[in-house]
Symmetry: C2
Subunit: 217 residues, 2 copies
């Protein structure tokens, strides 16, 4: 069974593969805040265990086995986040740090019980899918708010890069998942958007923010 550290590498590899297609050793080392030689030697270790495809100087990828192990850790992480929000009353900006630790707990009963109490949720508090018990993940095909046209009304479905700062920013603007948003206009100049939502709320969102907001129609 994978160690605490190995689990963190697997998870990072999985998340990086989701964001970018290809994974480099330096990106990995960056995410995990270790030196490149450290990441390099761990990648070799995971390779020997059949969890990572590795060839010198080539981009990294997870094997099916590695992908499954990683997905199961992420399942634990996202179930935990959901539990912390739904059952313990934490704000969605607080839960990542705590889940980061709880995800390493070795007790299937514990996570099964969470799953049950939450009635088998399929997404976490940030709209990311919760992998199932077999490690299968279904990403709903969301669009970015940034790609919407003026006049469109859409629902906020998920966010990417859910750092505490970004989540606090959304809190301040009363933006939460499920919210209906109307795109009033778009600045051709910098891609910032004027939106309206709820009762008379109006905001201007920078293109960077709009890139991170995923919506459905």
């Amino acid at each position: 069974m994978a160690s605490y550290t190995e689990e963190n590498y697997l998870k990072a590899l999985f998340n990086l593969a989701d964001e970018k297609g290809e994974i480099s050793v330096s990106e990995l080392s960056n995410i995990l805040q270790v030196s490149t030689p450290t990441a390099n030697s761990m990648v070799k270790n995971l390779h020997v265990q059949g969890l990572v495809h590795y060839e010198k100087y080539k981009p990294l990828s997870l094997t099916p086995k590695g992908k499954k192990e990683a997905a199961l850790i992420i399942r634990k992480h996202r179930l935990t986040e959901m539990y912390l929000v739904e059952k313990m009353g934490f704000g969605w900006e607080k839960v990542h740090e705590i889940a980061e630790q709880i995800e390493h707990i070795k007790s299937t009963a514990f996570f099964d019980r969470m799953d049950e109490l939450l009635e088998h949720p399929t997404i976490d508090p940030h709209g990311s899918p919760i992998p199932d018990k077999q490690g299968r993940v279904v990403w709903k095909s969301y669009q970015k708010l940034a790609d919407c046209k003026p006049g469109e009304t859409v629902k906020l479905a998920a966010i990417t890069n859910s750092s505490e700062e970004f989540l606090k920013f959304l809190n301040n603007k009363n933006l939460s998942l499920g919210l209906s948003i109307k795109v009033e206009s778009v600045e051709a100049f910098d891609g910032s958007m004027h939106i309206s939502y709820s009762k008379n709320q109006r905001q201007t969102l920078s293109a960077l923010v709009c890139e991170r907001l995923l919506i459905k129609v």
Copy 2:
């Protein structure tokens, strides 16, 4: 801050000090399932950190600082056990293993929230006291069932040595905390007790079991 391993040593030292007065290196190594030299070197390390009183060939003890750190870990453990039973519906025989891992989570907010949701419990599901935020512990002065006389009616208040096997044994006999028990008779021969409780339940308990059941009048 203490590492995962150091925390386990502190906790073991605290629990041993509770049970026996004096702590030896070999008891410690036994509890933690490591060799005596391993325990020995860790004890020295904790001594350097001012957490353990250590003199060659002398019994071990925690310093006030070590006692406080240990109590705070045990607080997290017992709060977790209570939460798992009360809020997640686990049986009292299942929670030790899970709490053993969760107690190492570094998030005061997480445990504070548990404490709040449980409305500041003072005992865990096995009747052991939950140390307060300052690391203070108040052991209620319970008697052993073994010391009761025939005819006495007492309340089951806590159990010592709460291993999964013992707890399952109690489950099978429908014995749980808070229960009123009447001592019908005691075998002079081996100290086993005949007791009655609930609606017409009668059982014979061995002296060993009676030693482990703590009661109040």
